[in-house]
Symmetry: C2
């Protein structure tokens, strides 16, 4: 980007599309969110109606922040978002997205008077956000791992997100963590890292272990166990909860060692709800990763946690894409 551009148009828009809600905000070059808002994603089955809602909501926050005519571009993080084509592909968990290819960047750009729109999946957006505003500032080679409902990833090599031949690179949540008799994953395969180390994976571990052992635990009293419950129990010193998080960290660390063998990153950056449990995950991750690394990398690869304010992070990640337009 050149200096004149930045002076004339010092703001970008970040839009994070989730299955239930869509967060959007106006962001400046320092990563300050000037104004933000949220709309429902799932109140429409037609993408055109949804795009109308997005444009209307944006109009409000553009006016609110006094950034009319000063927007440089729009970055969108969306499930199954393809950077090359600007499309959202077969996004099963989006009411208007399943089983088709939606030219979302094009639709939104047209609705916003031709403003440029860049789109990618949420984990890639998080990686760009972390590189632009967060824990990966100054890093040229790192791997972003998002620990949310699923396990997502964004890989940065030489300062650029890896999109691969088809735009879908970086599906590390679906690499194999358990080869034989692995858990069924939502993707249809078995044994994926996501089936063990996502928020859902952690609650599955809890349920399995409660069934398989007689170990006392405060988790036994709960009907439904979330990964947050496990984290809260761990903070109270619950031994089973601590073991569950240790196991989760170990599975992550083992997987990270293989990721390092691929791209030799400076660091692995963790983000997402489950990453809040960092005081319990960090050491098991480091131990398992170092045990499984070639000696040339042992004790040299950093594991760091996102520094972005959680409420802003999704918007910041998406917005960061727009600086590269």
């Amino acid at each position: 980007m050149n200096v004149t551009d930045v002076i004339d148009r010092p703001y970008v828009i970040g839009i994070d599309i989730g299955g239930q809600t869509t967060k959007m905000g106006i962001v400046d070059m320092r990563g300050q969110v000037l104004s933000q808002t949220v709309i429902r994603t799932d109140s429409h089955t037609d993408v055109n109606d949804y795009v109308d809602d997005v444009a209307e909501a944006l109009d409000k926050i553009i006016k609110e922040s006094g950034s009319e005519g000063k927007i440089r571009g729009v970055g969108v993080g969306a499930p199954n978002g393809n950077y090359y084509t600007g499309t959202i592909e077969n996004a099963a968990n989006i009411t208007w997205g399943g089983n088709k290819s939606i030219p979302f960047a094009e639709l939104l750009s047209a609705k916003l008077g031709g403003l440029k729109v860049a789109l990618t999946n949420d984990a890639n957006a998080a990686a760009v956000g972390e590189m632009t505003y967060g824990a990966a500032r100054g890093m040229k080679n790192f791997i972003m791992i998002t620990l949310g409902t699923g396990v997502g990833s964004g890989i940065v090599i030489n300062g650029e997100v890896v999109y691969g031949h088809d735009g879908f690179a970086g599906e590390l949540g679906h690499t194999c963590a358990v080869r034989h008799n692995g858990r069924q994953c939502s993707c249809g395969k078995t044994g994926c890292l996501e089936a063990y180390c996502s928020a859902i994976g952690v609650s599955r571990t809890a349920r399995e272990w409660l069934t398989l052992t007689d170990e006392p635990s405060v988790l036994r009293s709960l009907d439904v166990i979330s990964s947050k419950d496990v984290y809260e129990a761990a903070k109270e010193g619950d031994k089973l909860a601590l073991k569950i998080l240790e196991f989760t960290g170990k599975m992550l660390g083992q997987a990270f060692a293989d990721f390092v063998a691929f791209s030799a990153p400076e660091a692995i950056v963790l983000f997402g709800g489950l990453a809040r449990a960092k005081e319990y995950l960090y050491q098991p991750i480091m131990d398992a990763m170092n045990d499984n690394l070639l000696s040339l990398w042992r004790n040299k690869i950093k594991v760091v946690f996102s520094q972005l304010k959680e409420s802003d992070a999704a918007i910041l990640g998406a917005s960061a894409l727009a600086w590269e337009l």
Copy 2:
């Protein structure tokens, strides 16, 4: 590179350093090896003496091919070669290389009157060679897997070899193929892909299976079993040999699925002695890979075999690096 350069200096030198021998040759832009020679790598313990030998041998083939003053640069493929630093790091299987960092590119360049020297490991060199002259021409995203004594890899993303933060990216032979009770690998870890799918891995599989079963096989009559013996036996229809190669292909295919999840390549390119057994490896690789891929990639990723003449391939791979100088 610009046109004037190519007209003035239309040749490059490729040097492939192995533990026992060093192959070198003069190569033109079409990948024709004009002249080549071989010297011992292991006849010296001091790298300076070795570099003297290399320079002397090069001098002969430069004169032989009439390329004095027409050499653009030198590409070197070497074990533990680091592209960023031009050093060979702790190369245990090189008589003059163990347990130290050798500024090889600098030493050789000085000896060759300042000719530019690029250096990387042999698998990365093979990837550049395949992209420049071979099966990966026109591809921007692919993964090179070399099946030799070890399992090496060179990863190409957006037309560039991935070197990572430290220059050592692409050690896919040391990703985990068997998590529990895996075979001891030469790297010190257990369960590495290399311990199963290298030439040595294949002969280990043969020995293990001959011990564990009573299955008749022509391999039983051999004192020492090489991967070549297994391949020859398979060609004669030996059932155990066929099963060994099927197992090897399956292990490779499973691993490839995880590699695809990382960088979404157009193809995986196989090279090396064991890749000669392609008629037995191909189908098990494809089946196992597709069984383990996310549906978005299923039946879309190619597995191809090197098209470089085997006697020239190591020199061509190394030489291709020099075009980028």
